[in-house]
């Protein structure tokens, strides 16, 4: 008898995604959908779609969706969650959306510790509009608005969102992950699921930052783009947990202690 080891999640619709080959968005969409399905909350989930490459998120996620103005996802999520506190509310946003035009909404929803989850795709570029410089574009990286490469003099330094938010008391869970290899994808799914679980437990603000490849606007092949994540992005944006609840830390220590003993 055949055993099913993998199937498409029912958390996504059948509409074909319009993402470029090698783009990280599709993988992350699947992980988000798998998480709300596995937690059994599909019919309790309300997602917020952004402006940018993932503007069509409302077509892909198989749950109630609202598509809002550029940068305002956290404010929209705040309005929804305060009126429907028992729903799972996530805002899906890119780097320009979250860290540039929506920086105020990001900071203040984190400061208020709104009980929402932000799925933050950091690919260091504005994709939809054709490859302009993002707040997370690395120094030296070329874009259509930094054609000779980003310089400190002209453009300042890239923003590290997790580190920035970790300076606030409000966030409950902040983790930076990537989707450059299967093990990283598994880790990313775990991070998203943890964020959703914390939200469902009513703990407060959670954000998962995902380093994601954009072969098209980086002018690289998909394989080269993955290589760039490892060579350039991860060194500037170190992976890891930047904030987690005290009891999660304790649980981990205990687990390590038990493993050592055995």
């Amino acid at each position: 008898m055949e055993k099913v080891v993998f199937e498409q999640t029912k958390g996504l619709t059948d509409i074909p995604m319009r993402y470029c080959p090698g783009c990280g968005h599709g993988v992350v969409h699947r992980l988000v959908a798998e998480c709300f399905m596995e937690l059994g909350v599909q019919e309790k989930t309300i997602g917020i779609g952004p402006v940018g490459c993932s503007v069509f998120a409302d077509e892909y996620f198989n749950c109630d969706m609202i598509q809002g103005a550029h940068g305002r996802g956290p404010a929209i999520a705040t309005g929804i969650k305060r009126c429907r506190p028992d729903r799972l509310v996530f805002s899906y946003q890119g780097d320009g959306d979250l860290a540039s035009i929506g920086a105020a909404e990001m900071l203040h929803s984190a400061m208020r510790s709104e009980n929402i989850t932000i799925i933050f795709i950091n690919n260091a570029i504005y994709g939809m509009t054709g490859g302009q410089m993002a707040p997370t574009t690395l120094l030296g990286m070329k874009s259509t608005t930094s054609p000779s490469g980003r310089t400190v003099e002209a453009n300042g330094y890239p923003i590290r969102v997790c580190e920035l938010l970790a300076a606030l008391d409000g966030p409950v869970y902040l983790e930076r992950v990537s989707v450059d290899k299967p093990a990283a994808v598994v880790k990313t799914k775990k991070a998203i699921k943890r964020a959703f679980e914390y939200q469902l437990e009513g703990r407060g603000f959670t954000l998962v930052e995902i380093l994601s490849q954009c072969p098209t606007d980086w002018h690289l092949t998909p394989l080269q783009a993955i290589e760039k994540i490892r060579k350039d992005l991860i060194p500037y944006y170190p992976l890891g947990i930047y904030r987690e609840p005290e009891d999660a830390k304790r649980a981990k220590k205990e687990k390590v202690a038990v493993e050592k003993e055995s």
């Binding site: 029912k10 909350v41 599909q42 019919e43 309790k44 989930t45 309300i46 917020i48 779609g49 503007v55 409302d58 198989n62 749950c63 109630d64 969706m65 609202i66 598509q67 809002g68 103005a69 305002r72 404010a75 929209i76 999520a77 705040t78 309005g79 929804i80 969650k81 305060r82 009126c83 429907r84 729903r87 799972l88 105020a104 909404e105 900071l107 203040h108 208020r112």
Partner: protein, 361 residues
């Protein structure tokens, strides 16, 4: 319910909104509307509602975008510069057909201007205000009591037509105290049916989507025509106005809000002298009550417009009269407040043939 109390305009509109079922308010401080968020900050929690002091006007309007998408009766308020900041969000609400309610307690502009009463935001209010082809329903109260009672109608229309509604008042109305009777029983929103369009977390076969874009060829044009159909119905059914002494009038004074009260007192003073003065006052600025102007335009030779701005309201009067009567205009922008005596003196001059204040066609 019929208890009569003394209230400030800003508090009256806040209490009126709560009684009309408002359970979510987000706003940002700006004079002269601060009593509204201040009132909401303690009043909404009493009713199990939510008050948020947002990080900006932009965030506040987008919090409303979210809160109204799940069917909640929501409100924000601001004053002129803050309303400018909210316009992007209002445009999204108009496109997504979300029934928000907001007030503009207008101050002097342009720019930072001043905190004096003004009617300088008439165009912004009545022509949509943000980007794209849309309208919002605009109520213009002239008393504190109207500020208390209009929110109920605003929510009714907002939900009936799925359209943003606003109240356009000014610093005088916001700050003034007057006697108020609430003319309706408080509405408990938990007894209202959740509209079918409202997000809630749905079964996948009936999942709900609220959005303001459609990139497919021709679809956004259709979307606009669908909105236009709704706007046409509102234009036909929802204009509201007040008309006094128009049957025997030699001249009709017209203005809205605070300017309407000035017109009213000029009319009362003039009638005592035997001058045949009438008065028309739109209660809704959009939809504009064209019909009442059309009814009298062939009977009354002169219309005298009084506005606390540089000739904005007069344009709708012009469009309604369509060249059939003479129009005179008295302008007092950014803090200038005309008095009844001032308007009466000008009315006397106009009636005796003075053309100084006449507006060109």
């Amino acid at each position: 319910m019929a208890e009569r109390t003394l209230m400030k305009g800003n508090e009256a509109v806040a209490e009126g909104a709560v009684r009309a079922g408002c359970r979510f308010f987000a706003g940002y401080p700006i004079t002269p509307q601060n009593e509204i968020p201040e009132y909401m900050s303690w009043r909404l929690p009493e009713e199990g509602g939510t008050f948020i002091q947002a990080e900006s006007e932009v965030a506040a309007i987008n919090m409303l975008f979210g809160a109204s998408s799940v069917g909640t009766r929501v409100m924000t308020s601001s004053s002129s510069p803050g309303i400018s900041l909210k316009q992007e969000g209002v445009s999204y609400c108009a496109a997504a057909e979300l029934p928000i309610f907001y007030t503009n307690i207008v101050r002097g502009g342009p720019g930072l201007g001043n905190i004096a009463p003004s009617q300088g935001d008439y165009f912004q209010a009545t022509r949509g205000g943000g980007h794209g082809d849309y309208r919002v329903i605009v109520f213009a109260p002239k008393t504190v009591e109207e500020m208390a009672n209009f929110p109920r109608t605003c929510y009714e229309l907002a939900f009936k037509y799925r359209i943003p509604t606003m109240m356009l008042a000014d610093g005088i109305l916001g700050q003034m105290m007057e006697p108020v009777t609430f003319e309706f029983d408080p509405i408990d929103p938990s007894t209202l049916d959740l509209p079918d369009w409202a997000l809630r977390g749905s079964k996948p076969e009936k999942r709900r989507v609220i959005k303001s874009y459609d990139l497919r060829p021709g679809k956004m044009e259709q979307w606009n025509f669908r909105l236009e159909k709704k706007y046409d119905e509102i234009r036909e059914k929802e204009p509201r106005y007040e008309a006094v002494n128009i049957d025997d009038a030699d001249i009709i004074l017209t203005g809205y809000g605070t300017a309407a009260r000035v017109c009213e007192s000029a009319m009362a003073l003039g009638r005592k002298e035997g001058l045949k003065i009438g008065y028309i006052r739109p209660i809704t600025l959009w939809p504009f009550p064209k019909s009442v102007f059309r009814e009298v335009r062939d009977k009354v030779e002169k219309f005298f417009v009084v506005e606390m701005s540089l000739g904005q309201y007069v344009e709708d009067v012009k469009l309604s009269l369509n060249g059939r009567s003479e129009i005179y205009l008295h302008k007092r922008p950014a803090g200038g407040i005309p008095t009844g005596e001032e308007v009466l003196e000008l009315t006397r001059k106009i009636l005796s043939g003075d053309k100084t204040k006449q507006v060109e066609e």
